[in-house]
Subunit: 330 residues, 2 copies
């Protein structure tokens, strides 16, 4: 018989958390006290937070608890990667509807722990409450081997590059919402890109070493995140649409459905790809392509930093409706 | 004319946040990049998170945005205090209903910033999303001058003590819910204890110096938090109800209302007082009382750590319904 979280209560859930997380590395204290006590290896640290809300960022109609937990960690790890850093410790806050099954909570915890293992981040504490929707908020610390790569370091003349392919996550969401499934035409791969995003930590570390000048992860869409990068740098840009690495599986999916969205549009506005968008001096670009390529991840130059306006082809990034805005687009 | 958050969107709100928070201390990068870059003064750090959900932890029927923001920081600072530590940096996640006014968000931001100033913690980043209820989640780092005081350090024979008075916050909530107001009979003071809790940072630092052996902040009620302290220490306890420092204003409020709750019950089960509950060797108790007394905060010995059962008078702490459980009690 299935048990509801309201039957075992906050205390019961916290006990499950403590059992899953363990009591900590030597000299550390993890879940179970007022605060965790953790070791800090450097005198500078990265610190970020990102959260996911049911029916805004995911739907339980298609996402399992483990997907939600995994992604909540992954999107924070991606923030560390976008600084050229790596994750160290995390705390997680979870709100649950009282009518949610304990099995869902266990699955969510599985996802958190799986992602933590994947990127070697220690989840050292958290908080649980009830709400009318499921919410997972993760805060994460990290560190850099080199200087952190800020959004503000781009200069005119540099190349604008992106790792991997774009649009896959938004296409995966489209597939989930339209109940398209199946390994043929790569649909399962697209769905996986949406539910279980990969944070590009190793890629970010190499890009820091090779001299990337500014970097951001593509979380809200190429257009919006490119605008953020250029705005922070006080520069303009020109991106050639034909060079944008649209994920090839999107076109294949489009052949299956009548009204599927335009692949390039998904790549430009889709968001949640968690690829790294960065700028780098022209002379360093071949090294970046080579070093990241060794990890099995492609790097594509899609345009150039300018001192003019911000453009992707004919699209002026000063305009509205560039991508995902959590409060505007409902 | 009032403006809604959905009209200015996430980007517009983030701009307001960046303007309020500033660009950071020298050598640091605060809000505006993928992660904040912060300096870490020690090789060990405290790390905790706590969040508040509308209609579970507060109601906008009686709490202003500034109250919610202030308390979200205060409860995390209290976690640092309960370790005998002090806060350093924080990140805040905020979910808003799209129909919330921008003025509410500004007020919430005021509260976050006021509390941050109060306890000298730097809010260095955050995240905003929409949801069907307002939620504020804060994650905080801190540090200790002495060894952190864990929940697990109590030994039989030691005194169980608490700072300040108990029950005031729950009484303040009662007053808010029953629309009792006014400076007479101390009602406004009780309300303030509920809406603007004081985190006992200076008290915690002195208790660490003077040799407190185990400590927790009273967030979910004396009964539940005492049980947590004793369970972590593997000990029992006997608390004498007559010694519990029930806030005197509660009795005064009770004279005003027919069906007001029993003052001792509020002190035992009420929660959210954010006083420090700690254990200390009998011989150190007078020093603790003196040193914390110098801060204008009373310390009261309410019982003794034992190797027997956990009791407050006749109440067995093994039982249920000890205090606030976020998922059980709706």
């Amino acid at each position: 018989m299935s048990q509801l979280v309201s039957e075992i209560g906050e205390e019961g859930l916290l006990r499950r958390v403590r059992e899953r997380l363990g009591s900590g590395a030597p000299g550390e204290v993890w879940a179970g006290d007022d605060a965790a006590v953790i070791r800090v290896p450097r005198d500078r640290m990265l610190f970020a937070t990102d959260f996911m809300v049911e029916d805004v960022d995911f739907s339980l109609a298609y996402a399992a608890g483990a997907d939600v937990g995994f992604k909540a960690v992954a999107i924070n790890v991606s923030d560390m990667a976008a600084m050229g850093g790596f994750p160290l410790h995390a705390v997680a806050s979870v709100s649950l509807r009282p009518d949610v099954e304990v099995a869902f909570f266990d699955s969510l915890l599985d996802g958190l722990v799986d992602a933590a293992k994947e990127w070697r981040v220690s989840i050292v504490g958290g908080d649980i409450s009830s709400a009318t929707e499921v919410m997972v908020s993760v805060a994460m610390t990290g560190a850099c081997d080199e200087e952190p790569i800020l959004r503000s370091g781009a200069s005119p003349g540099e190349a604008i590059c992106v790792t991997g392919t774009l649009g896959a996550s938004a296409a995966g969401l489209f597939a989930l919402q339209h109940e398209l499934r199946g390994s043929h035409h790569g649909i399962d791969g697209l769905i996986r890109r949406h539910l279980r995003p990969r944070a590009r930590v190793l890629e970010g570390l190499r890009l820091a070493k090779v001299g990337a000048t500014a970097m951001i992860d593509v979380s809200d869409g190429l257009a919006l995140d490119l605008k953020r990068l250029m705005t922070a740098s006080g520069t303009g840009c020109i991106v050639e649409p034909a060079t944008i690495p649209v994920d090839p599986a999107i076109g294949e999916m489009a052949t299956l459905v009548g009204e599927s969205p335009e692949p390039l549009d998904l790549a430009v506005r889709g968001g949640e790809d968690y690829e790294l968008l960065f700028t780098i001096g022209r002379e360093r670009y071949p090294d970046a392509k080579l070093m990241v390529g060794e990890l099995g991840t492609q790097v594509t130059a899609i345009g150039e930093v300018t001192d003019g306006p911000m453009r992707i082809g004919d699209m002026d990034l000063k305009g509205k409706d560039l991508g995902w805005d959590h409060l505007r687009n409902r």
